[in-house]
Symmetry: C2
Subunit: 354 residues, 2 copies
């Protein structure tokens, strides 16, 4: 690392603290304490950030016997990013500001099975329309205000090259250079990642997020996004989080993956049989395995099947954990746009050194 890299490292550190402070804001001295830098260094860094329009002063704290601290806040409108959630049957595109808040959103049905050509046409159209109209009622976005686009889709795929692998049931996507093609079409930097990873990233960057947690997604399939020590775990082949094909029943029913007794098969079979309590129990066993293996701080449940009966699933999972003496909190994700928001974070995160 060299001196310019040190500079941007520290700027990102300060920006991230401004971000997590949210609308409450944070003073220069608090920034100094949290970063370990001297107050004078923080003054210089925040002066640069203010000059760039990324931060602004916003009132004062109460005095404690001397000059009151000046509160600084992130300026969310200083930059934006596009988040694209390309699901099997639906396309969601949204524009997020620097704080990750969605300021505009478009949605339309798609069929992944139609292949990359027509689907990427649809993505391009929707993103262009999104940028042309957003923000609603505000001034049009100036040049350079959109940092890029993050695209989340079902795995398997390779996040480094931005190329999908053999998506189950959608063979025409395998090997298609989705990231590079979209980058060329949109004229923006594009990042591609698995849907569960994007959702987990978005959850990890919430101000009160625990350091390590698992986002367990039960929808058309079963997958997880793992966040360990604040960072999403992807693995070299973007394969991490394949919770659905964990063997939890030796010599159990066969699965299309070649294995037997896979968590996904058992859990979805219970759902199909109309036994939600059993599905929740099986999901709980999978969650307990995660908690014990990875020593995580929290389990977050999401996905269509879970959100159809959220409290029942949460209670079922909690019961399994409690039965093993685990006190790990079990939460629920809200809203259907978690993946699209996380996709926007794929582009925003580097600004904050994440």
């Amino acid at each position: 690392m060299n001196v310019p890299a040190l500079r941007s490292h520290n700027a990102a550190l300060v920006l991230d603290l401004l971000r997590t402070a949210g609308e409450t804001g944070i003073s220069r001295l608090e920034l100094a304490e949290r970063t370990g830098l001297t107050p004078q260094a923080v003054s210089k860094i925040t002066a640069r950030l203010r000059a760039e329009g990324l931060a602004a002063e916003a009132g004062h704290r109460a005095s404690t016997g001397g000059k009151p601290r000046t509160v600084l806040r992130l300026v969310p409108s200083a930059a934006h990013a596009v988040g694209v959630h390309l699901d099997r049957d639906e396309l969601t595109v949204l524009l997020a500001d620097l704080a990750g808040t969605a300021v505009a959103l478009r949605r339309r049905p798609v069929d992944l099975g139609a292949g990359p050509g027509p689907v990427l046409d649809a993505v391009t159209e929707e993103v262009r329309a999104l940028l042309a109209t957003a923000p609603p009622g505000g001034a049009p976005l100036p040049d350079g205000a959109v940092l890029g686009a993050g695209v989340a889709m079902p795995g398997p795929l390779d996040h480094r090259s931005g190329v999908p692998g053999r998506v189950t049931g959608f063979p025409e996507w395998a090997g298609h250079p989705v990231r590079d093609e979209l980058a060329a079409r949109l004229g923006l930097p594009v990042v591609l990642d698995k849907d569960t990873n994007a959702a987990a990233l978005g959850l990890a960057l919430r101000p009160a997020a625990p350091g390590s947690f698992a986002y367990v997604h039960l929808g058309t399939g079963l997958g997880a996004g793992l966040v360990l020590g604040g960072a999403p775990l992807r693995g070299d082949r973007t394969g991490a989080g394949e919770l659905g094909h964990q063997t939890v029943l030796l010599d159990g029913p066969p699965c299309g993956c070649g294995g037997r007794g896979c968590l996904e098969v058992l859990c979805l079979a219970a759902v199909a049989r109309g036994e939600p309590a059993e599905a929740a129990r099986i999901l709980g066993v999978g969650a307990a395995n995660l908690v014990r293996l990875l020593d995580i701080d929290q389990v977050l449940l999401g996905g269509r099947v879970v959100l159809a009966a959220p409290e029942a699933f949460a209670a079922g999972v909690r019961e399994v954990l409690a039965g093993l003496g685990l006190t790990t909190p079990v939460g629920l994700t809200t809203g259907r746009d978690a993946v699209a928001e996380g996709a926007a974070w794929l582009t925003l995160a580097p600004v904050f050194g994440k």
Copy 2:
């Protein structure tokens, strides 16, 4: 991060490259390429390291039409660390040099069940004896040459505070300040960690180690050390790697942990029944779960039970992985001192920024 921190960061970066280059050595220009620093910066850094005695010039490369590159090497004898493996029935202490090579070793039987008092007496005695006699035939160690001691023992424990939890079958250790007491007795900085974590750390720091792997240990129990992206995963409660209590047989035989169908119970039962092939198959299922969930690059098997029939276990695990279409390499750890060597790395690793 401030300027002095930047300096030591880069020094650690260079030291780590010198370490992984081993006896082959590495030239200044190669260091510059690998670190991204300019050759001149590398020259300054290596000059400081040479002045401190941590690095030395060692010959030249063949010329490629100009001045031949000067080869630099780590000076392993520049510093040492103590590694302590405190197992249920045996105590191993060794002295490792800066390259992690054991230069002296002592071993004696102990009984963890005797409680912290007599056992820590034994540790103190053995470490003192080790330092008094080592290195054999060489000059006595100068002051400050021993950076500290790493202690590895069976979990559960808290690596941050250096205090064991309720070790199964050894309740008198729970809450005993092992790290602080040993630090006071030895007059050295002490780091405490789980045996599997220490072994995994040592394996992770071998020059050719993959970025992500699992060290699966089958001995008196079943545990794993997880290395993800080059760094051991410990978790906030040092609980990561609890592979033994993964449920792999829903509603299977009960386990002392409160669960059912735990991998450890099934695997050890197969061993006890004299069915090593079945034990290997079960272990393979556990390994496959790890590979799929974490997208790791390699599985390394170790522990007394495995090492009693190493090739049979490796073959059995490979077969399960292959049956699932996984080509992840399965290796074996050699030698009974892997944990003690890893324990020494607990102290050495920070020198190299690890």
